[in-house]
Symmetry: C2
Subunit: 206 residues, 2 copies
DNA sequence: TCGTTTCGAAACTTAAGCGTATCGAAAAAC
DNA sequence: GTTTTTCGATACGCTTAAGTTTCGAAACGA
């Protein structure tokens, strides 16, 4: 392993002080190791710096030089999780909703993303800073996209004009999440997003 | 505090061996302390026997005489959580569904019950025995009730005959759970159950 | 080349918590 | 009253991990 280890994390204009620069590769390895362990279901409490260092192939010193404690590392790692969200295509609201639901379905099957949801839903009172950052980075942007989509549908007449947007959004997201989890990951049907959207558009009554 | 401490947990016919009987009061205090700490958002990992003993006002010995380790205590404590579920009244399916949703809404606002959901959804691979027991005790019975309710609606014509029961159930439960959590506990509107059921019965399309 | 800084590895101190053992007191059966 | 068992309290040995320090080696700028 005699790679040249392209170090250098410094931003373009930052005046580089003398000495060996910090390894960007090590930094990435640390974040990745943290996210991997989060993805395996570990909470903040059972995550250990030593295990992260071992998995990342890094000394504990290298971690503590960048983050002053476990929670700070945890926050930074989770904050990098904001997965891309499809912009509206401009087609029908139904199609755009389906595209969004596909992303939600994928996330519901992804351990890392699921962990983010779990944090946001259950740790509000214990780690308010953490929840706030996660919410800003990963929850709010999506909420905004779906909200705009629903409003657009109300304007174009594709959705009923008296729609309760918050409730409709909870229906869409909650249904996908709950169904995906309750049916086991194996039942990640490729047409789930379509079925959910149509199911809600049509209603279940007669 | 000179109460007589009505000990005696022995079942009616069990041959009581000599000696001081185990205190049922201590047992209840231990379970309650465990559930309280679970309700405060603690996972299995960060729950400590010593903290439980301290909160229950009990010696560690008293705990270890009843459960051989932390997980066993955890399982027993969670297994006592099965909150009552309303039986179908025999009225309209809509009314029965609303009654069920009210229970789900209450649970979504209850930290203890929320924790059970969190366990069932996130710890399946790490604590399969635990999840299995929780599922049997708290999840399956309710799922059966709602499933029967939806089937009844399909039979009576109150619901569309081609309904996807699993998806509809996920919609109902997922919507209540997601909405309650995303709106903050303050927004526990008294008419949420009605709105959710009617929302889904009518659909959101035009 | 020389000074500076980071690197991974290892040793260290401190603290928490598990599970066990021991203690005198209390509560039952006989 | 005697025996048996549980009670809460406390101390113990043990493991894990946090966070710090030290070390020689490596990577940069000057």
């Amino acid at each position: 392993m005699t790679t040249t280890d392209e170090t250098q994390a410094g931003g373009a204009g930052t005046a580089r002080s003398a000495g060996r620069p910090r390894s960007a590769k090590a930094e990435k390895a640390i974040i990745d190791a943290t996210l991997d362990m989060i993805g395996e279901g570990m909470g903040l409490f059972e995550l250990s710096i030593e295990a992260i260092a071992a998995r990342a192939g890094v000394g504990k010193t290298t971690i503590y030089r960048r983050w002053c404690n476990k929670e700070d590392l945890f926050v930074d790692a989770v904050a990098t999780l904001k997965s891309p969200f499809p912009p509206p295509t401009g087609g029908s609201v139904r199609d755009d909703l389906i595209a969004c639901m596909r992303v939600f379905q994928r996330d519901a099957n992804d351990a890392r993303s699921r962990c983010v949801m779990s944090i946001a839903m259950n740790e509000a009172e214990r780690h308010p800073r953490l929840v706030e950052r996660v919410s800003q980075a990963a929850i709010e942007p999506r909420k905004a996209v779906v909200t705009a989509l629903l409003r657009r549908g109300m304007a174009t007449g594709e959705l009923r004009p008296d729609l309760d947007v918050a409730l409709a959004m909870s229906s869409l997201v909650g249904t996908v999440m709950w169904y995906t989890r309750s049916q086991g990951e194996a039942a990640s049907a490729p047409d789930l997003a379509e079925r959910v959207v149509d199911h809600l558009l049509a209603g279940i009554g007669t």
